[in-house]
């Protein structure tokens, strides 16, 4: 029982990172139907920004987190402007290849400029372990969980309550109709990339704090896992992405806990395929009927 609770705690902290990343995937996919392969690398940029600013200016965690979110938001908007906007009306597979190109560019550009070696993330928050009912939980795990939940609530408020959020939902449903009622789709798409990238940047700083090591290729695997989480939750659905992220995190730690850690990636993909076969549009995805 204790180990199970312990694994749930670990799974939730890992899952909240996946969830933050999955939100960016799902928002971008929902609005322009693009699998943004470069999203995992924006998360890497966030981690590197946190590393840089903490080492250079000795700022505290909150400043590092917020500045990383701002920097990655601009990075995301820049990527959208330079690489994806010219391809708005081309085949989707072309945009996908461009996204892969951007991903290669960020990974190898960072390797080229700053070296490909792994480095230690500065520990701005001193680690404490609390023990309650035999379960170990560190303040960093709590911090990750709380930060992730605050950000998700904020995101939900932005999407549901603000004018921009309404515009985002409108563009996601029908871009042309939204343009007809006076919404500029370019602004909205740019804002969506900014929002999603900011969440990825936050996830980058949090993972740096949690795992204590960062490198230019760190975004690849979590990026793909987070995309799987978004698909499992129902791509395009914001609560679905959050649920999918926690689910994948719990599944991974669970499989690891029963001694099958070599198969943890396979387990994630088996669940993905099973869910897609049973529920082709994910857990919370809208089932679009095929029209003749």
């Amino acid at each position: 029982m204790h180990t199970a609770m312990q694994q749930i705690i670990n799974g939730l902290s890992l899952g909240s990172i996946y969830a933050l990343l999955a939100l960016g995937y799902t928002m971008v996919y929902g609005i322009i139907k693009l699998i943004n392969f470069a999203h995992g690398d924006v998360y890497m940029l966030g981690a590197f920004w946190g590393y840089f600013i903490i080492n250079k200016y000795h700022v505290d965690f909150i400043v590092a987190l917020l500045s990383a979110m701002i920097v990655t938001a601009f990075a995301g908007m820049l990527i959208e402007y330079l690489a994806y906007r010219p391809l708005r009306n081309s085949p989707r597979i072309t945009a996908l290849i461009t996204a892969i190109g951007v991903s290669y560019f960020l990974e190898n550009g960072m390797s080229y400029l700053f070296g490909a070696n792994t480095r230690n993330f500065p520990q701005v928050v001193k680690q404490h372990n609390y023990t309650a009912f035999g379960i170990n939980i560190s303040n960093i795990q709590l911090l990750i969980l709380v930060t992730a939940i605050i950000l998700m609530v904020l995101l939900q408020l932005i999407i549901q309550k603000t004018k921009m959020g309404t515009a985002m939902r409108a563009v996601a449903v029908d871009q042309e109709a939204a343009a007809l009622v006076g919404i500029n789709p370019d602004h909205v798409i740019s804002f969506t990339f900014g929002l999603g990238s900011a969440l990825a940047g936050a996830a980058g700083v949090l993972i740096g704090l949690y795992y204590n090591s960062i490198d230019p290729l760190m975004g690849m695997t979590p990026g793909i896992k987070a995309f799987v989480a978004a698909v499992v939750g129902g791509i395009g659905s914001v609560p679905g992405a959050a649920i999918g992220g926690f689910l994948i995190g719990l599944l991974e730690t669970g499989v690891q806990a029963i001694g099958l850690s070599a198969y943890k990636d396979a387990a994630v993909y088996v669940v993905l395929i099973l869910i897609l076969i049973v529920l082709p549009s994910g857990l919370l995805g809208k089932n679009v009927k095929e029209k003749v």
């Binding site: 996919y29 139907k33 699998i35 690489a83 010219p86 391809l87 081309s90 085949p91 989707r92 597979i93 072309t94 945009a95 996908l96 290849i97 461009t98 892969i100 190109g101 951007v102 991903s103 290669y104 560019f105 990974e107 190898n108 550009g109 390797s111 080229y112 490909a116 690849m220 793909i224 995309f227 799987v228 698909v231 791509i235 070599a262 198969y263 990636d265 396979a266 994630v268 993909y269 088996v270 993905l272 395929i273 897609l276 076969i277 082709p280 549009s281 095929e290 003749v292």
Partner: protein
Amino acid sequence: MTKKKLQANGLWLLVMIVGYLAINLLVYTGVVDSFIENMLVTIGINIILATGLNLIIGFSGQFSLGHAGFMAIGAYATGIILQTVPTVGGFVGSIVVGIIIAIIAAIIVGVPTLRLSGDYLAIATMGAAEIIRVVINNMKITNGAAGLFNIPQFATWPVVYVLVCVTTIVIVNFAHSRAGRAIQAIRDDEIAAEAVGVNPTKWKLAAFVLGAATAAIGGSLHASYIQTIAPSDFGIMNSIALLIIVVLGGVGSMTGTFLAAIVLGVLDTVLQSFGTLRMVIYAVALIVIMVFKPSGLLGRYEFSFAHVLNRHKKEDAA
């Protein structure tokens, strides 16, 4: 009509033989050193892999991201069999075994997942390929994450050259047969195709299985040429590298796939000397080509001697 077909086929045969002799001559005179030969073989293997993928993506319209998984099956079949039977017969047998296992795997993967469409199918096939890779990573016979070493080299460039010709002939003929028209009809409109009596599941699966079989051949050649294989050689990034060849050449154009495989192979060799900067330049080139030429280098253009001969005839008549 038959005469013209014969003429066109004869010309293609001539191109193949001349190509073979030309490379042979260049190897003999030393213009093609081992470095360039390595590039040629890599291009050849990539052509085998990418034409199969183009059949799946370009002709049947099914977005598969799991090609490296089937390649891994072929590579490991060859690697394991050649370590016990290191003969030419063993090599040929291992290719056949690889193809058979890949076909079985493709049916197991394809039957449930080909009901999905678009990006969902891409993610499901990617997941399937990753499952294949993780299983190989944890098996005794495949030597786990360390992989297999010292696989005897039977895949010299003439072998690769001949197999490039054979797989291309099979795939192009499939694409131009009744089956090929059926899968293209499904790509363009699945419901309309179904209405005129084309069974979508059957033909989609046929294209997927044929693509997987050629991927296994490519994997076998890769294993026997490189002589070292590890599960990490067949990850998502390798599937994506093949996808890039297909899209860069033009989805649905076999000529484009040839061109893109050659362009990327040469680019890769030329950029070797740039070190870390190589992948940065590669990435920028990729983005620039996609932004300015979204349909790929050739779009859906297909070079064909039959068309050239036809045009000639018309001009003569006029």
